[in-house]
Symmetry: C2
Amino acid sequence: MDARKGHLVIIGGGEDTRGDCTILRHFVHLAGGRAARLAVLTAASSEGEQAGATYRQTFLRLGAEQVTVLPLSTRADANDPSACASLEDATGAFFTGGDQLRITATLGGTALLRALYRLHERGAVLAGTSAGAAAMSATMIVGGRGDDTVRRDVLSMSPGLGFLAGAVIDQHFAQRGRINRLLAAISQNPEILGIGIDEDTAVVIAGASASVLGAGTVTVLDGSQLAHTNASESRAGDPLALMDVVVHVLPEQYRFDLLTRRPLPPA
Amino acid sequence: MDARKGHLVIIGGGEDTRGDCTILRHFVHLAGGRAARLAVLTAASSEGEQAGATYRQTFLRLGAEQVTVLPLSTRADANDPSACASLEDATGAFFTGGDQLRITATLGGTALLRALYRLHERGAVLAGTSAGAAAMSATMIVGGRGDDTVRRDVLSMSPGLGFLAGAVIDQHFAQRGRINRLLAAISQNPEILGIGIDEDTAVVIAGASASVLGAGTVTVLDGSQLAHTNASESRAGDPLALMDVVVHVLPEQYRFDLLTRRPLPPA
């Protein structure tokens, strides 16, 4: 939540890449518009080459000056000095979708991830969609059914890239009915804010301020008022109890203060 | 919420009818156990005969003294004095699943519905599963996608049978990801409590006291603290905003006070 850091653009997957491209256009704008020099990281994708080419084309069409695709399919790629060098003058980096464990298992502890931290520290914009969104938080959701009762151990979590502290992200949120797994996540540590992002929808974070962009909504689950949960005494598979979770559903132009945990209607 | 009235047993669909039958067994117990005289109303079902036969067999196996199936496929059936007479000494009535509009369109304004009101007033237990659960409230949900952003007009509502005041029921709740349509319902009138019931799970209501029974959870959405919604100024299809909805997720043995709107852990 350091205001000197660059923006985060965290996208719930399925964002428009052909029409107005509201979200991707905003990412390019934040990264400098016609002066934007972008890196596309396809580590999450099993078909990274195609994803990289599509995003490269889209970002160039939206006016970016330069777009470099970094495939990074192995840890050796992510420790290669030339890959790190290509990030040196980037103003934005974009994580494609796929599998968030591929991102963290490939980038975790590498020179390239350190270069991304430095990039973010000095103000570059970091964006990610779907798996690339999930990986943004310090702890990320890697699996869990969206069509079952809220249960203990319905979800599996893993350490994420840590660009966003104090929150867990879930994506394709309304489309895949994922509120139950996000409720399960916050029952385990109600200090963590649950942020569920619909498809073609993004949360844009600048310092402690989050704002919503796109066609759907961002659902915020705040467990800080939680009066009771059975998360610790229940057994694996047991239905979970949670009392007094506060929920906000926020469409475009609505904002949320990550420090005070208060939502705000459009200015 | 009159304590002299009989219990309501409102079931989220998919209840066990072959194993322990926890929920149906409790219904028979509340209706008098070995002295239970039950009516099964299959108005919701397109294949009412089979549904009626299955529940009759199950309730007899669970010890009920007498089980009468009332098919009620037309309004004439529901105004037939002999159908009403068969309810005279019932201690419980059970609505099967199917289509809640078939229940209200067939029974609304009929002699049989008046007989059911009298039955409930004098202490008989009313139960319903799936569509039979939805129809219990004064306003009922009849449709709405479970896999989309919370939107204005994603759901359609209709007058229900009115056995439960001040709440809207939704069923197959976790299994069909229906929280968004229940959020849309309470955005339209936050005075109304949203009660989402998972499959093989029931909420048992006695006066103002609700308790949870079964394998899943009951999700209560309380909009009484709602700080803001765009429900009235937004247009059809627009994403809805809701701030400060309080959510409780309650498994078996948890209770909820419908008057104070407070959840309670197991005694």
